[in-house]
Structure formats: C-alpha cells, structure tokens
Amino acid sequence: MNLRGVLIEDTFAEAFTMRAARILITGATPRWVTAAALKLTGFATSVIGCKCEAGIERELGPTETPDGRPGVSVLFMTMSKDDMPKRLIERVGQTVLTCPTTACFDGLPDAPDRVGVGSALRYFGDGFQASKVIAGERFWRIPVMEGEFLVQEKFGVLKAVGGGNFLILARSAEAALAAAEAGVDAMAGMTGVFLPFPGGVVRSGSKVGSRRSKTMIASTNDAFCPTLRVVTKSDLPDGVNSVLEIVINGIDAPAIARAMRAGIDAACREGVVAISAGNYGGKLGPHHFHLRKIMAEGAPA
C-alpha cells in the first residue's frame, strides 16, 4: 500500500489492555485549568517508569462541564484497576487540589467500576471537610486557604487500550519531525484518545528486554535506530535517516484506530519513506492494529 508516495508497511501495532479514568478539571479561567492539567499529566509517559500514563483528551467549554466553567478532559491510565486509586489520589491531591480555582469531577459516570478519590483526599480537610450529595453523586468540599476545593467522591474506571502506535520513517530528522507534528495535530482533540509522550511524539521507541541485562524490561529499539543500521539487524529501508514514533492510548480500540488513521494520513508527506508500527510478534498484547487495514477501511483492527 502506498499513500501519496509513502509506503504503508504490512505490519501492525500491538497494544495492551489497561484501565482508564477520565478526569474533568474545571477552573475559573483556561489558564488555571491548563496549569492543573499539565501538572496532572506530567511525568506520565509510560507505565514503565511513571506507573501511569496520562494526557489531555480535549478542552471543554462551559456548557460541557458540571459547574459551567472552562475545563479539560484528562485520560488517565494504569496497568490494573488496583493501581488506579493510588495514582489518582497522589496526582489529583498534589496537582489539582493545589491549583487555584480548580474543581475535579468524574468523566466516566456510567462506568460500573468506581474507585475512591475524593473519599481519600477529604482527609486533607482535617475534620473540617464536608460532603454533599447532588443528583445521587457525593462530592467533597475540602477547605483550603483560597476557599474550597470540590472533588467528586468516586471516579469511574473502564478497561481501555494502551500502546497503539505508528512509526514515521523519514529521510531526515527535519522531515520526521514535521510529519510527526502534522500527525499529532490531526489527532488533537479526538474523543477517547490521548498521546502520552512529549508533544505526542517519542524518539526513543523501545523493544522488550535487553541484549545485555536480564533486569531491564525495555531498551532501545535498535532495529529502528539509523545509527545502528550496520551493526544490528536493522528493519530500516534504504534512505531512512530518522524515525519518530507516535503512541496512542484510548478508551477503546475503535477510538485508537480512528486516531491512527487520521494521524497516519497527515504524516504521509514529503520526506517520509514509510509508515511502520511497533509490535512484539503478536505474542504480548491482545489488540493488533493492522496499518493497511486501518488505512483501507478506517475500521478497528
């Protein structure tokens, strides 16, 4: 398959089942909403080193938020349901509770699995906290120096998919970066997905394990490193001098497939030789996103 002169390789992205929460942060102005969201989602690129993965899903207008203020929707993922409350409590507690004017709400009200967040953070109120049940949902009012921090007691958790991806194989670093930026822009604001890495792009794609250490769970993806073309078993076509990866996590597989199609389509531009994907032979992750099938049908793999 060829898209505007760019080869779509006959391969697939291999993704894993994770658990996701959707956190709605509101604030007096977009400035403070963004400040809280960026801190909440900071250092949350990969569960390998960060214990969670998180990103801004999209901005929300006042008509879309529970309290009628500007907001953002953050998707937050962990490998297991048991990990979720600990990570949410520490992150919401340190980044949203602390941020002026913000409030924090559950964005998955229909999810049957619920984990306590406000129910734990309330103890910061040192006995002065109070709760209100509004339309069947309990909220905690935690007194702070500014006024009050309002946080929902429980947050919904769903099974989700992490690790959708595609690789941009380009003739130069400049071309790879421009294509990656175009891909990220095309996926920005799409419902149900987020890109956990800086600016949505990762340059240090990894393989499982290590050639030298038994304790490392991931190491550089040498098959796609241009500098190692002649010293390792390279998967790079001739003429490729730089590779960037875009990782996509989503609420479900169709959301990831939609985002991959938009991102790949935008990334197929001058200077790009091929689009590939990272997988582990299909033995590790249950979700396989076949590039050609996605681009041909726009359907989930």
Binding site: D67, G68, K132, V133, I134, R141, G147, E148, L150
Partner: protein
C-alpha cells in the same frame, strides 16, 4: 395511550381520609378493581372502600393519578418505594412521608409535614407546603435522610427541620425556623428566609438566595463562591425547572458558620448580588 391508574374523587370529602399503610407502588399491580376494594380509614366513619370515595379506572402503567381536592387526605404516598403518583389538586398532611423512592407530583398545595422524614425519591409540590415540609415528626431528632423535596410555592415554619441528608428547595419563602436542628443536608430558599434559620443546626447548609438574617449564634466567616452551590443550582435549574439566574451562579455568597451553640459545622450561605 395513557394506561394510568386514575382515581377521581366522586364527591367532596367531608372528613379526613387516612391513606397511611397503603403502599401506592403496589397499586398498579392490583388493577382498578383491586384498588377499589382497598379500604381506608375515614374519620367518624371507620373503614371505607376506596371505590366508595373514588371512581377508579385504568390499568398497569406504573403511574397513579388522583383527581379532585384531596385536602382532607392524609399520608398519601407515604412510604412510596417506586413508580409515580400525580395529585391533580391540593393534598392534605404528610404527603410522601417517609417515601424511599419514586416520584410524587402535587399540582396544588400540600398540608403539614409534606415529605416528612423523606428517605429517597422525589416529591414535587407546585403550590405551597405547610409547616415542617421535609422535616421530622414532632419530638423526633432526625428528619429527611435522602431524596429531594421541591416546593414551587412557599412553605410554613420549620422546613427541613432536623434534616440528616437530602435536598429541600423552595422557590418562594420559608417560614420561621427553617433548617432547625439540621444534622446535614441542604435547604435552598429562593425567596425570603424567615426568622431564626438553622438554629441548633450541627451541620447542614442553607442557601439563601433572598433576604435572610442569620441567628445571633452564627458568625460571618467570609465571602466566596462555593463550587458545590453551582452544582446544586444547576441541578435545580436544569432538572427541576427552578428559577436559578446567571447571577445566582456567578455571584458571591456570604458564609455564616453556626450554630455556634451547637457543633458549629453548619452554614448559611447568603447570596449577594455584588
């Protein structure tokens, strides 16, 4: 086509009729003939078949509809667990008392103790409600423990007295002693809040959107905009149709803490236009 169970009053009631003990949520399963055979206690006359008082028609649609002036009917819908009851007109004392689920809608006025010790569900009164709406039985320490009472008119004294949980919203005025001895819960008043609101309250919130004078045992704490008030007011506007304005949502609230003669964890939030 509506399949409501309809009970139309045959003639004006001359004595009080006690509906307590009748679980209205089970009525639609009985059918019209079965309901007509049920007996209620009429003051001075003893047990009387409902069919003698009401023309009973309709089927099993899950909704019971009463037509006529039921001002002398007591405890209608008491203990309701599910389903819907509509009263087209006025109703007497203790409508919806201790109900746990479902919805009761009254298009007219309600007497003493509407929603008394409400535990769940929704009780909506389009007209006025008498004393102790959403309150506790006389002598009881605990009133509402859940649910919502919406009054689109005004209420008499002691609305929301001894509330433990739940929401009472009054579009008009409330009489003296609103929220008296509240344990928790929320009372929202759009009109004038009568004298001594929240007296002896331990916790609980009174949102006063109209004129209010906190008791001497409350102290002013600060002026701010509590976000939870915005959630409650949006709920009342969007789902209950109450007259919440943009200024209510964006305005400032003077917070008075009290009752300091008690635990002092309660509050009166007085909306200010500025």
């Amino acid at each position: 086509m509506s399949d409501d169970l309809v009970l139309a009053l045959r003639a004006p009631l001359r004595a009080t009729v006690d509906f307590s003990g009748h679980a209205l949520h089970a009525w639609t399963e009985l059918g019209a003939a079965g309901v007509a055979r049920l007996r209620v206690r009429v003051a001075g006359a003893g047990a009387v078949a409902l069919g003698d008082l009401f023309d009973v028609r309709g089927g099993n649609g899950g909704r019971a509809r009463f037509a006529g002036d039921l001002s002398r009917v007591e405890a209608l819908g008491a203990g309701l667990e599910r389903g819907e009851v509509v009263v087209e007109g006025n109703v007497g004392r203790e409508v919806g008392a201790r109900m746990r689920g479902g919805r009761i809608a009254v298009t007219g006025n309600a007497g003493w103790g509407a929603g008394l010790e409400l535990a769940g569900g929704l009780l909506e009164i389009d007209g006025d409600a008498g004393p102790r709406a959403g309150g506790a039985s006389l002598g009881a320490k605990r009133g509402m423990t859940g649910g919502e009472l919406i009054v689109r008119g005004s209420t008499g004294p002691e609305a929301g007295a001894c509330m433990r949980r739940g929401l009472v919203a009054v579009a008009g005025d409330v009489g003296e002693g609103a929220g008296r001895a509240m344990l928790a819960g929320t009372l929202v008043v759009f009109g004038t809040t009568g004298p001594t609101p929240g007296q002896w309250s331990k916790r609980g919130s009174i949102l006063a959107l109209g004129p209010v004078t906190p008791p001497a045992t409350y102290r002013y704490a600060c002026s701010y905009r509590p976000e939870y008030a915005s959630l409650i007011l949006r709920h009342l506007r969007d789902r209950r149709g109450l007259p919440v304005t943009h200024e209510h949502l964006t305005g400032s609230y003077r917070r008075y803490s009290g009752d300091l003669a008690e635990l002092g964890a309660g509050e009166i939030l007085a909306w200010t236009r500025d």
